[in-house]
């Protein structure tokens, strides 16, 4: 499981935010576009692409894209 691909998959859930914005250190809650639907899309993407179920409080605890990546990796 590679972080580069994960970041790309993560970024694809955002419609109005350029992919170049996303790095491992991106604090995704601070992005203008961040919202409940994006949150759900991220959870759905992780379920679909990585076969991992993320809970809301887990996503809430994660601050950066790298945190989410590590969370998913730990559940695989």
């Amino acid at each position: 499981m590679e972080i580069k691909e994960f970041i790309q998959n993560f970024a694809e859930q955002f419609e109005d935010t350029d992919a170049s914005v996303f790095t491992p250190d991106t604090v995704f809650h601070d992005l203008d576009e961040w919202g409940s639907l994006i949150g759900l899309s991220i959870i759905a993407m992780i379920d679909d692409e990585y076969g991992v179920t993320i809970k809301g409080d887990e996503l809430r605890t994660a601050k950066t894209v790298a945190d989410v990546f590590e969370l998913v990796k730990s559940k695989k």
């Binding site: 859930q13 809650h29 961040w34 409940s36 639907l37 899309s41 991220i42 759905a44 996503l59 809430r60």
Partner: protein, 200 residues
């Protein structure tokens, strides 16, 4: 699945949060109503107005599911009409970005539908949303809400006229979809995936 949020009466301590949210232009960007900054006193009065039982409207504070029950947003039903058994789902506001993970939002929708259809036993819940509020439009698909039409140029905001969609769900539909498991998180996630794929 454990609950992410709880729903409670508004309390005096919610005033600070409401003051911040009501003065956040970004947060109010996509609401149908107009935005104007309010004073702390106005925020306090707003909170007081939400408290208690009212014949035609009901507001709840969305709060953390712990001992503190800190407010993270609010939700409301308005225009409760006991003759026609309908109400306006005024919308959900999740002011705390950390709680915009999707779970609080889904739980809020289901809470309102449960209250409207199973407690009040209303027949119809409707709502209005800006046509450019993509999240709202997607919500309709996720919760099997029917878009009934467009109120053309019905809102003037930020110097332009905006179309507003009107949508609704009936009690019979809600109960049917609920019994079929359509409002379980697994089903909602499946629909999100399908909608995203079809939009590509």
């Amino acid at each position: 699945m454990g609950k992410t949020v709880l729903f409670r009466e508004f309390e005096e301590r919610d005033t600070e949060f409401i003051y911040k949210c009501k003065n956040d232009k970004d947060l109010n960007r996509l609401i149908v109503g107009s935005f104007h900054p309010i004073s702390y006193d106005e925020a306090r009065n707003w909170v007081h107005g939400c408290m208690g039982e009212h014949e035609s409207y009901k507001y709840w504070a969305i709060c953390t599911n712990d001992d503190e029950q800190r407010i993270v947003g609010w939700i409301s039903l308005s225009s409760i009409d006991r003759v026609n058994n309908s109400a306006d789902f005024h919308g959900i506001v999740i002011g705390d970005p950390a709680y915009r993970d999707g779970f609080a939002w889904i739980e809020s929708y289901l809470f309102i539908y449960d209250y409207a259809f199973e407690v009040l036993k209303l027949n119809r819940v409707y709502g209005h949303s800006r046509i450019d509020h993509h999240a709202s439009q997607m919500t309709h698909k996720l919760f099997h809400v029917t878009e009934e039409g467009v109120l053309r140029q019905s809102v003037f905001k930020d110097g332009k006229y905006i179309d507003v969609t009107i949508s609704s769900i009936l009690r019979s539909e809600y109960l049917k979809f609920k019994s079929e498991g359509e409002y379980e998180m697994k089903s909602v996630l499946q629909r999100i995936k399908m909608i995203k794929k079809s939009n590509k």
